[in-house]
């Protein structure tokens, strides 16, 4: 590939350099500093997106504000395409990139319970931290509730252990399951997202709530 031929000539090799930390190994302190800096960017982006407002987040489910859809899918697609390009340019070893483990029942049941928590509480864990940071008391209470929910899971783990570990099928990628190339699946996701953005923006007009939009 032309890119790294020219770079290798200069003595600088970027081939399979990423992911940097697992490949090269760095000191514990630097690793934690990187964690903090990535978190800074994460929190800044979430807050700039407006995710520090529960009524904005909830707008997704009543159609008056679909910011969640726009931000979530744009972010997923940006990272998805970025990884595909880094892989194509052989700048990252995708073999050591973490792919989520799939336990069929627990992924579905856990997701359903989280969905209920979303509409009842108005946040998810990341957005609650970001909202608490700007002073939202409802977000601070949500975090308190989350900690109690985690303690409850930990204390009653033996009740759920079977469900938690049922039907483990490794770390499958949807592209492999559907027998598609990664790039083709990514293109399908992009097309679906554009259709959803278009429908969502129509919904924003149809379920328009200026009274709420003004306040959030």
């Amino acid at each position: 590939m032309p890119l790294h031929i020219s770079l290798e000539k200069t003595g600088f090799k970027i081939k399979d350099m990423g992911p940097i930390i697992p490949v090269f190994g760095i000191s514990e302190e630097l690793n934690l500093l990187i964690a903090f800096i990535i978190g800074l960017g994460f929190g800044f982006a979430l807050e700039q997106a407006g995710f520090s407002s529960s009524r904005k987040l909830a707008g997704m489910f009543y159609g008056y504000d679909i910011t969640v859809l726009k931000v979530f899918f744009t972010a997923a697609i940006t990272a998805m395409l970025g990884l595909i390009f880094l892989n194509y340019l052989e700048m990252i070893d995708m073999g050591i990139i973490y792919v989520n483990q799939y336990y069929i029942q627990s992924a579905i049941v856990g997701g359903v319970i989280m969905g209920a928590g979303f509409i009842v509480g108005g946040f998810c864990p990341g957005t609650s931290v970001c909202a608490a940071a700007i002073g939202k008391i409802d977000a601070m209470v949500f975090i308190g509730g989350s900690l109690l929910g985690i303690i409850f899971f930990g204390e009653t783990y033996s009740w759920w252990e079977e469900l938690y570990n049922k039907n483990f099928i490794g770390s499958p990628k949807l592209s492999n399951t559907l027998n598609l190339k990664d790039g083709v699946l990514a293109l399908l996701v992009v097309v679906m997202a554009v259709i959803m953005f278009w429908l969502g923006e129509k919904a924003e007009k149809r379920f328009n709530r200026d009274d709420i939009i003004k306040e959030i």
């Binding site: 934690l32 978190g39 929190g43 744009t74 972010a75 992924a107 856990g110 997701g111 008391i137 985690i150």
Partner: protein, 164 residues
Amino acid sequence: MNPYLAGVLLGLVLLASFYLTGRGLGASGAMKSVVVSGVEKIAPSHVSNSGFYSKYVSEEASPLKTWLVLEVFGVLIGGFISGAISGRLGLKVERSPKITNRRRLIFAAIGGALFGFGSQLGRGCTSGAALSGMAVLSVAGFVTMMAIFGTAFALAYFFRKNWI
């Protein structure tokens, strides 16, 4: 900020996380570390006897000095900086005018508890399971994303008084 632009920014942060560390972003994992650390302080033997807590305790480092906890500490500061720049700082309970503060806070606590519980059962929340999972095209990421958003849509009607 324009939501699509904010999405690209968030996506670049997520991509940077993958490129640097080999993993995506997370939030509920840090909350779990706080819980494990707290329980360990109060009742260390309880942690080592638990099939769940014991998985997350290492001998050398405190569960609070983990990657995810530092990352979420960054979220707190990053969110604060953004709120300060955009003039959104201030203590407040955000709620629909149709409900009381008390009702909003009770629902926030219940919702948080459900989300906290679900994120443990589902091995990650909207950040770690759904968003990061989708970015690597994992089946688990797509399934968790659809379960979270599908359920929230399905239940929206019953909780409409809280929001609209």
